[in-house]
């Protein structure tokens, strides 16, 4: 029998997994080894901080180059994979999630990280967001939400607030913005969190928790576009006189309705994990289908399995 899609060892999902002997000999990667191209973002862009914290995550969690895949669609934030020294994919606009699902479902040994923007994930890729969440495909998805289209230079995005004056809404945005957290909850995401680029420790903490979640983990990370929507998130930044409110300690993360209520709080709202439950992943369910099918075959070779089928077609 040739190896199955699920024969590869699963990646370690918990922090305390003892390293294997081969891993022990390898030193953790340094930031220098993880950094690739110099980012093309504008000076002061919030995305720099997300990238820096991704490097930190890789360093801290001792991930090896070859065990990480960094996948993105199109947009400012989606240039991300070029800046990381890992196997990376710069895919087409809006479709990073189905691509990442293909990687995740066929390679249980890889950590699959998807980075995207609000336009990429919620507008052109909106359908895929819903279905990747409901299928609970194992991966971490960070949406760097800046409330505006940046790469194409200031058009209205699906998260632009009402009244935002853009080049496509000179009189101010007319369409009700999406609430990413509610969207994720309604779609059936099993991990929903929110953070902001101005609080590095919190970003790292959310990324780590997301990475350890067995399922589709979604983080909305506010990431300011200093060029086209400067000051958008000042009221969420204590250094600019705003307030950074953590999700209340008594919030039950398994309570979907409570999470939905919390997600509806007016800006700046709350930061932290809104919702987290364990539900079988698509990966596990498909692996079970494979295991059940294989068990009945008692180790036949591939051609012998096909022969059985052909014998019924005579």
């Amino acid at each position: 029998m040739s190896p199955t899609l699920t024969d590869l060892p699963e990646r370690s999902r918990v922090l305390l997994t003892p390293p294997t002997s081969a891993d022990a000999e390898r030193k953790p990667l340094t930031k220098k080894e993880i950094a690739a191209d110099h980012p093309t973002w504008c000076p002061g862009c919030g995305d720099f901080s997300v990238l820096a914290l991704y490097f930190k995550l890789i360093e801290k969690r001792k991930l090896w180059h070859e065990k990480i895949t960094t996948i993105a669609g199109i947009g400012c934030s989606s240039r991300f994979p070029y800046f990381v020294q890992s196997h990376g994919v710069h895919f087409i606009h809006g479709r990073s999630l189905p691509f990442a699902s293909g990687v995740s479902l066929s390679r249980p040994d890889l950590h699959v990280f998807v980075f995207g923007g609000d336009g990429d994930i919620f507008s052109i890729g909106g359908n895929h967001f819903t279905h990747t969440a409901r299928k609970n495909v194992r991966m971490s998805c960070v949406v760097m939400d800046n409330w505006v289209y940046g790469l194409t230079k200031k058009q209205t995005s699906p998260t632009s607030p009402l009244g935002f004056k853009s080049k496509t809404d000179g009189w101010g945005a007319l369409d009700r913005p999406i609430n990413p957290l509610k969207q994720a909850l309604a779609a059936g995401a099993t991990f929903v969190a929110r953070t902001t680029h101005t609080n590095p420790n919190h970003v790292l903490q959310m990324m780590e928790t997301a990475m350890d979640h067995d399922g589709f983990s979604f983080i909305e990370c506010l990431s300011e576009c200093v060029e086209f929507f400067p000051g958008a998130f000042d009221t969420a930044n204590p250094r600019k006189g705003g307030e950074f409110n953590l999700v209340p300690k008594d919030h039950d993360v398994a309570d979907e309705v409570a999470a939905y209520d919390l997600a509806g709080a007016s800006f700046p709202g709350y930061f932290g994990v809104f919702y987290q439950v364990q539900r079988p992943t698509k990966n596990a369910l498909e692996a079970q289908v494979i295991a059940d099918a294989r068990q009945k075959l008692g180790g036949l070779k591939d051609w012998q399995i096909l022969q059985q089928t052909f014998d019924r077609m005579k």
Binding site: F99, L110, D292
Partner: protein, 611 residues
């Protein structure tokens, strides 16, 4: 038909029995009558009896009900098409009778259900009418609540009697089909079959006996084109894929979804066509050649991601089971009008590979070839099947499975260095390396849809775009140079060369046989590799006065179908003309012959021998 069948009775004893070499049987009823089931039995029986078989069916695009037909051509010699005209029509209803009687050849037999059909006197002279109370005899045989369910199997019994078919083999097939679930189902079916077989049809009409067919080296398998493609992909080593349902592609995804887990693989049903191609590309990126597929409209939706596959140089197999278009078009009819989409769909210079299987057997091997080309050249490969191949059943020599089955487990071993888009690679051919392999120099590749340098990092430098565009083209020009030389069916020189692709090969060959039998100088060329085309076709064309590209699509603004336009563009050869039709049906042999005849008449002032 090359020779009249079901005629010239050779009398032997009280009931005449005719030895025949082949027969075309059309069964017409409604879609819930199990007409496809009888057709399937006949096809499978032919396969088990070492006979050639080809079927043709129509299904209404409505969910339940509506007229439905199944035509089966069984023969002791080579069967190339489903037959232009039927020798026998089985008509279940008045509409079946009236709509299909003209599909019979003159003198053909119509066997009708007297419970439902009022025969028309004006047709009695041209067609031989045999009335049998099919419905009431079935009810009588089975009884109970089944009503006339089972009349299809009753008809099968009648046909077995009429054509001297093997009863034990048919009984076995009935047991295989209905067994397992419910014993009473098998008994009912066998009851109906024997009632039909027991009916003394020889009192109404002569019976027939098929001549012995040539002995075959290998056992035959019987399946339709969708099945052959699906199992070909499995044999090729495909273990991951994704798709969205659409007629007539859906059968393939249903088979892969059901079968792949047995081989350790998965096939995922996606939210839409775009997600499917993207997920398949993700699977390919993960290290297995993945597959997606659809029919026309769905392929149109996938084109942007296919462009990424070309740019990022990612192996992928895309099946397109063509149907009539554009838009929703004719979902359950055949057309070969997606060639342009397959070769050129999408934006930018995006060279990819297009293959088209010629028949059901070829579907199996084309799937394997597509996978191997995708891997070797790191490129999307589109397989253009069509509704006719997808649904018709053929018997063919069982493939040598231990030899055909491939293991494509990715190699994740460490490497010293890796450039995904190495410009110095011979002929520009580079291969994808999946994540998971440690790369000693610490430089990891990016795969991307942006124009890029050799490591995959963005570069819009003029020289980079020129060189990379050329790389993506050169590797497929190298592929073209390796394609086998095309061979001509019939003499290499003559008056007319019929050029065809896809499911038309059979009818074209049959047309050649008949034209040559009538003394006309006609040959044929069939192309399986459509993009890039094999080299050297100009040498073949130069042997003929006229090159008639025979395809099921429109003649376009300038008088050329889609392949004809491609050949004109490549060879600038004024001998290349088009023979096109867009009625949603496969070519009839007589349609091709009529076109050939008028070409011959035009070129030689009416000197063509009559056909």
């Amino acid at each position: 038909m090359s020779e009249p069948a079901l005629t010239a009775p050779v009398t032997s004893g009280p009931t005449p029995t005719c030895r025949i070499s082949e027969a075309v049987i059309r069964i017409a009823g409604n879609s819930q009558d199990g007409i496809q089931a009888i057709g399937g039995f006949l096809a499978r029986l032919a396969g088990r009896s070492e006979q050639e078989v080809m079927t043709f069916m129509t299904i209404p695009s409505t969910i339940s009900g509506g007229p439905s037909i199944f035509q089966v051509r069984v023969g002791s010699g080579e069967v190339l098409s489903a037959g232009d005209e039927a020798d026998l029509l089985v008509a279940f209803y008045q509409h079946s009778y009236e709509d299909h009687i003209h599909s019979l050849r003159r003198g053909g037999i119509v066997l009708y259900d007297t419970d439902h059909v009022q025969p028309r006197t004006e047709w009695q002279t041209d067609y031989r009418h045999v009335g049998i109370a099919i419905s009431s005899l079935t009810v009588e045989a089975i009884g109970g609540t089944a009503k006339d369910k089972g009349k299809n199997v009753f008809v099968l019994g009648l046909l077995a009697r009429m054509f001297d078919l093997s009863v034990p083999k048919l009984e076995q097939l009935i047991r295989e089909r209905f067994g397992g679930k419910n014993e009473s189902l098998v008994n009912n079916a066998l009851g109906a079959f024997h009632a039909g077989y027991g009916f003394s049809v020889e009192n109404l009409i002569e019976t027939f006996h098929f001549a012995d067919s040539r002995k075959r080296d290998r056992v035959q398998v019987v399946m339709n084109g969708n099945e052959a493609l699906a199992y070909g992909l499995i044999a090729a080593g495909v273990r991951f894929g994704a798709a969205y349902p659409i007629t007539p592609w859906s059968d393939i995804m249903e088979i892969l979804r059901r079968e792949l887990p047995k081989y350790g693989g998965s096939f995922i049903q996606c939210e839409d066509e775009i997600a499917s191609v993207c997920m398949a590309l993700g699977g390919s990126y993960g290290g297995r050649v993945a597959v997606t597929g659809s029919s026309g409209p769905g392929i149109a939706l996938k084109t942007e991601a296919l462009g990424w596959g070309v740019m990022a140089e990612m192996p992928l197999v895309v099946i397109n089971v063509q149907r009539g278009g554009p838009s929703t078009g004719l979902p359950t009819n055949v057309e070969q009008s997606d060639l342009n989409l397959a070769c050129f769909g999408g934006h930018g210079d995006a060279p990819r590979v297009v293959l088209a299987p010629a028949n059901v057997e070829d579907c199996f091997y084309t799937a394997i070839e597509a996978v191997n080309i995708a891997r070797r050249y790191s490129v999307p490969v589109i397989v253009l099947s069509d509704q006719a191949i997808a649904t018709r059943i053929e018997a063919f020599d069982e493939p040598d499975l231990p030899k055909c089955c491939q293991d494509l487990t990715p190699d994740l071993g460490p490497v010293a260095e890796f450039k995904p888009y190495d410009l110095s690679a011979p002929d520009g051919i580079t291969q994808h390396r999946p994540p998971g392999a440690p790369i000693a120099n610490g430089r990891y590749p990016i795969v991307t849809g942006l124009e890029h340098d050799e490591m995959g990092h963005p570069s819009g430098a003029p020289k980079v775009h020129s060189d990379m565009t050329a790389k993506r083209r050169r590797k497929l020009q190298a592929l073209a140079a390796t394609l086998p030389r095309s061979t001509v069916y019939g003499p290499a020189e003559g008056q007319v060369l019929l050029v065809g692709w896809g499911s038309s090969r059979g009818p074209i060959r049959e047309a050649v046989d008949r034209a040559r039998a009538a003394g006309n100088s006609v040959s044929a060329l069939h192309l399986r590799h459509l993009h890039p085309l094999p080299n050297g076709l100009e040498n073949i064309f130069s042997g003929f006065s006229q090159v008639l590209v025979t395809e099921l699509n429109d003649q376009g603004f300038y008088g050329y179908g889609q392949l004809a336009a491609l050949l004109r563009a490549r060879y600038c050869d004024p001998r290349i003309r088009g023979l096109n039709k867009t009625d949603g049906l496969t070519f009839k042999v007589k349609e091709i012959l009529a076109a050939v005849n008028s070409q011959l008449a035009a070129s030689s002032g009416g000197a063509a021998s009559p056909l």
